[in-house]
Amino acid sequence: MNEAEEKNGKVIEAVELVKRFGNFVANDRLTFSVQRGEIFGFLGANGAGKTTAMRILCGLSKPTSGKIRVAGYDVYTQSEKIKQRIGYMSQRFSLYEDLTVWENFRFFGGIYRMKSALIRERADRMLGRLGILELRDTVIASLPPGIRQKLAFSIAILHEPEIVFLDEPTGGVDPVTRRQFWEMIYEAAASGITVFVTTHYMDEAEYCNRISIMVDGKIEALDTPEQLKKTYNAGSMNDVFLKLARRNEEQKKE
């Protein structure tokens, strides 16, 4: 945490974020901020511009314009500093399947230049917490999806990042595992790690403290799940999402 961020408690701050690819506006003046320790849901249909924005916040892509700070650092000039202070996990890629559990810990810890002793200490603590210390030398490929997912999350926060980005993290696992996974997320947030999560599944949105919904490159709504349901007079986040997306399609037809 540096001074700029310390002042207002905002771990992510985006003002008028714009990203253009040629004539196509992928992110259209996004303005939002995320507080330390918050679980922030970043929702939108396929192609709404979520991945583009997330890549910018992770320091992997430069915005066309706008003022964006992540963990107190500027995305234009300090992206390397940002990368050291964030963690990332996606369902598509998370762990090396041909490596063992411990080798994955060592590999990812090494990337963040953690000392071996520290990696070992945290890995043992995390595996102990999950009750799977005996799987330390097991190859990832032979583990069930639920355990892999919990390991992937543990490894994403191994270096104790300020923010962890979760890109559609929970597909395909059973409901008990999914709840255990969210419990891990709540625990991480309680320890001060900010969680930024994208998902297609609206019931997952209900776990977030606040949610933004993107439609066609713009943030159409941003609030707590409770308040969004009230505003859109909807019984569930799924209904909120459908109302927003449909409304937009109707406008396009006119």
């Binding site: 409901p175 008990v176 799924n238």
Partner: protein, 312 residues
């Protein structure tokens, strides 16, 4: 008795030392939407590959429309439509080339059978010249469904058709399935998403190669044997920790920003008031608690906890 389309008796399958299916019994009626609901690794894909004659069962017997999946595979392949979980069309062929290709394989004419897919295909027709690999998730799904329907199958088998697809496309997809159903086709569908169970006529809840229960979603919910309380408030992790320590609490799990607690089926189980008092006494005030009706997820979780051979 309704007419039966598919029956499975003791269907088992192992890969080496891994048992994927542990002797499943099931039957699917003609013209219904039957859902196999379960997480990755439950055995859904293995089962579907057996149903579609792409994999031999290790044990047991499966018949579809009166034909045996082992003996009569040639006939069955003509009357089955299959949409695999992984996008399996030709990426380098255009949308219309893919459709023509699949029609060609089955020896049918696209124009003659166009009415079968019109509803769905017309939505992607503006992109007819685009390569399939360049389509969005929702459009790929519509093309795959069109290709699975073009030969007028009697039974349609869809393996996780909505995985990775956004909420709007998911909704549209289920609306399409309901329209297809009204045309008389039998639909077997799998999904890891519990909310989709509610849209099926009947479902089988699957876990680790077994069917835990079968019935209409309403029957399964009605059979839920205990009370569920929903607790909301700040300090959700504390609520979880404290309630898990209480006696006669069967489970306490996160459900969105609330905790769902199910109690044991005994007179000594705490009431909502007692749970609330206990939390307040532990310094957690300002929460709300109310009894709620079980959802299909509550049922799934409850049955999972009855499974003795859990590995997690």
């Amino acid at each position: 008795m309704p007419d039966v389309s598919i029956t499975g008796e003791g269907v088992g399958k192992s890969y080496g030392t891994t048992t994927a299916l542990k002797g499943l019994d099931f039957s699917v009626n003609k013209g219904e939407i039957f859902g196999f609901i379960g997480p990755d690794g439950a055995g859904k894909t293995t089962l579907f590959r057996i149903l579609t004659t792409l994999l031999l069962p290790g044990s047991g017997k499966v018949s579809v429309e009166g034909y045996d999946v082992v003996k009569d595979y040639r006939i069955l392949r003509r009357i089955l439509g299959y949409m695999p979980g992984k996008f399996s069309l030709y990426h380098d062929l255009s949308v219309e080339e893919n459709l023509r290709f699949f029609a060609g394989i089955f020896g049918v004419d696209v124009h003659e059978n166009y009415h079968l897919v019109k509803d769905i295909y017309s939505q992607i027709e503006p992109f007819a010249k685009r390569r399939a690999g360049k389509l969005s998730g929702g459009m790929k799904q519509k093309l795959a469904l069109s290709c699975a329907l073009i030969h007028k199958p009697v039974v349609l088998v869809l393996d996780e058709p909505t995985t990775g697809v956004d909420a709007v496309s998911r909704r549209e997809f289920w609306e399409m399935l309901l329209r297809l159903k009204s045309g008389g086709i039998t639909i077997v569908v799998s999904t890891p998403y519990m909310d989709e169970a509610m849209r099926c006529d009947r479902v089988a809840l699957m876990q680790q190669g077994s069917i835990m229960t079968t019935g209409t979603p309403q029957e399964i919910i009605a059979a839920f044997p205990r009370k569920i309380y929903r607790i909301k408030g700040s300090g959700i992790l504390d609520i979880l920790r404290l309630t898990r320590n209480m006696k006669y609490i069967r489970s306490a799990e996160l459900f969105g920003d609330a905790v769902h607690i199910s109690t044991e089926n005994t007179d000594q189980a705490p009431t909502a008031g007692e749970i609330s008092q206990y939390l307040s006494a532990q310094g957690l005030s300002g929460h709300t608690i109310k009894e709620v009706v079980a959802g299909i997820e509550d049922c799934f979780i409850d049955r999972m906890k009855q499974q003795p051979d859990k590995h997690e």
